[in-house]
């Protein structure tokens, strides 16, 4: 009994220390965001005596910030929904059908995530500006362009996360439904989706986060209309110096939607994250 209490006190102390390490960099960013440029230098102090709100008010009242924030929300949410749906179809097919070469297809999907992003910017830029055009309309600088492009690194991730989830749902359940006369669509919506819900939730949140955080493609393949919020962060680094306060304030604000999403799926996150490695 005594030993047990002793051990939870140790756990608690350890996690308090670990949380300090985790939170400190984020707290420091918050401190920087709440200070003017002059206060930044010199001996580091960790207490905010006077909240310098200008970094936040300037950021929030910037019309392009609002536009980019909406772009980010639209792109990340649409991408996460698209990816989760398509990955559910794909993993169901890989799990339940005897398709020729399906294990090779499964491995091939993940190779799409391994490509160094920098060099693929060039062909993608050419495709977006000259390849995928209909009359005057081109894929360049559109939200739909980013939504489809992010599938390249998110779909493989989603397929690899969902594979074990779908595999672990007993085949007997969908066979029983089939005998009762259900078609593939009904099996998916009535049998698979309810059982795979934690896995689907985690896949959706992580793909959402990856899409929300993406910088390199968004910076190259958009110009005015479809720019996302991460591209703004890099714009504070200029030749004449970096506007750290504004940058930190923007970074803090981009955290808010991500935190809301984290809160929503927190319950599912452990049961859903297995990356194809769950025991049979």
């Amino acid at each position: 009994m005594i030993r047990k209490r002793h051990s939870w006190i140790v756990s608690l102390a350890f996690w308090l220390a670990a949380s300090f390490v985790t939170l400190f960099p984020i707290y420091w960013m918050f401190v920087v965001s709440a200070r003017s440029r002059v206060e930044l230098f010199g001996k580091p102090t960790f207490v905010i005596r006077k909240f310098f709100a200008e970094n936040y008010t300037n950021t929030l009242s910037d019309p392009s910030f609002q536009k980019y924030m909406i772009n980010s929300i639209v792109v990340a949410t649409s991408n996460a929904l698209l990816v989760t749906t398509l990955a559910l179809f794909a993993t169901y097919a890989l799990s339940r059908y005897k398709l020729v070469g399906k294990e090779n297809i499964f491995f091939w999907t993940i190779t799409n995530r391994m490509a160094p992003p920098a060099v693929f910017l060039l062909p993608l830029f050419l495709l977006f500006t000259q390849g995928f055009t209909i009359g005057d309309w081109k894929l360049y600088d559109t939200r739909i362009g980013l939504i489809l492009l992010y599938c390249v690194f998110n779909l493989p991730f989603a397929i690899w996360t969902l594979r074990s989830v779908i595999d672990s749902i007993p085949r007997e359940l969908d066979e029983a439904a089939m005998i009762d006369g259900a078609n593939t669509w009904q099996i998916m919506t009535k049998v698979i989706v309810p059982l795979a819900r934690p896995g689907l939730a985690v896949t959706a949140i992580l793909t959402w986060v990856f899409a929300w955080n993406e910088y390199l493609f968004a910076a190259t393949l958009t110009s005015v209309h479809a720019r996302t919020i991460t591209t703004v962060l890099a714009e504070f680094v200029t030749v004449t110096g970096t506007n750290w306060g504004r940058m930190a304030a923007t970074a803090m604000l981009t955290l808010v939607p991500a935190l809301l999403f984290l809160g929503l799926v927190q319950r599912h996150i452990v049961s859903g994250l297995t990356f194809g490695a769950v025991k049979e």
């Binding site: 420091w28 179809f89 097919a93 995530r113 920098a118 060099v119 984290l262 297995t274 490695a277």
Partner: protein, 293 residues
């Protein structure tokens, strides 16, 4: 009977998107890799150059160095993340007050955009305003200058990566631990096995697929890191933290050497695929084994 046509139809949209946005650019890069093409050279058109780019790459000391640095970075970062993640996952298996709350806090860095992570660590380590250099100097007399000392810059990129991605390792390993049956552990305890024996003979073999999967996904992403390191060190000092992703970016963008950059990224992609393939084979072999019995 299941009709395979429906299976292919379900797979079709995924394959279509990956082919259009993944394979088509890949083929383009493959072709450009065999040409000499620099948009700002005296002759800005592409010429077929055979394997010249690849021949140059093998002797390009800077490229080989950046490949080596990337592998070291990936190795140290991923190993630290998995070991740390394992301990944290084990600790989360115990019961203590506010467990959910601490787990949520631990997950927080995952939500920060890589570019913002780079900015955060730059703010932590920047000379003149960062708390890390200030207190290292004050308490330990260590002069910490990210822009001067190569090993410090290298170490900081690893610490940053560990801070950012350990939560992913913790969560996957936690999922793996939570799904393990309890009987083998109870049996081992009855048989009088000590903690190390239980870890070595039971936990580790059973957790191996999860560990490999975690290494797999993390290694893949660590090898293509760009945003964070670019924001933190810009590849410096000199070229010490110019990992392959950054190097390729430099060759393709400021230098517009498209042919060489394409060859470089194909070689990197090839190496990544080979490494991940080996891991995958180990992963699948492990998974198939119980079925064969």
């Amino acid at each position: 009977m299941r009709s395979n046509t429906i299976g292919w139809l379900l797979l079709a949209p995924t394959l279509a998107i990956l082919v259009v946005f993944g394979v088509v650019p890949f083929i383009y890069v493959l072709v450009v890799g065999f040409t000499e093409w620099n948009a700002f050279a005296a002759d800005p058109t592409a010429h077929f150059a055979g394997v010249q780019n690849y021949r140059n790459l093998v002797f390009d000391g800077q490229f080989l160095y950046s490949l080596w640095a990337t592998l070291c970075f990936g190795f140290f970062a991923v190993v630290s993340e998995v070991i740390l993640g394992y301990f944290l996952a084990q600790l989360l298996m115990r019961d203590f007050p506010l467990k959910g709350f601490f787990r949520t806090i631990h997950t927080l860095p995952l939500m920060v955009a890589p570019i913002a992570v780079g900015a955060t660590w730059r703010l932590m380590t920047g000379s003149g305003f960062g708390p890390i250099p200030y207190y290292l100097d004050r308490w330990f007399g260590i002069e910490f200058r990210l822009g001067t000392y190569a090993d410090q810059a290298f170490l900081t990129t690893i610490v940053m990566d560990v801070w950012h991605w350990t939560p992913l390792a913790t969560l996957t390993l936690l999922a793996g631990l939570a799904s393990m049956p309890k009987e083998p552990f109870e049996q081992a305890q009855i048989d009088g096995a000590n903690k190390f024996q239980i870890f070595w003979h039971i936990t580790l073999p059973m957790l191996k697929p999860t560990i490999l999967a975690t290494v797999f996904i993390r290694l893949m992403d660590a090898l293509r890191t760009v945003d964070e390191v670019w924001m933190l060190t810009g590849g410096g000092p000199g070229a010490t933290t110019r990992y392959v992703g950054l190097y390729i970016w430099r060759v393709v963008f400021p230098k517009t050497d498209y042919g060489y950059g394409s060859a470089m990224s194909l070689l990197t992609l090839y190496l990544t695929i080979v490494m991940c393939w080996l891991l995958y084979v180990a992963l699948v072999a492990r998974r198939e084994l119980p079925r064969a019995e």
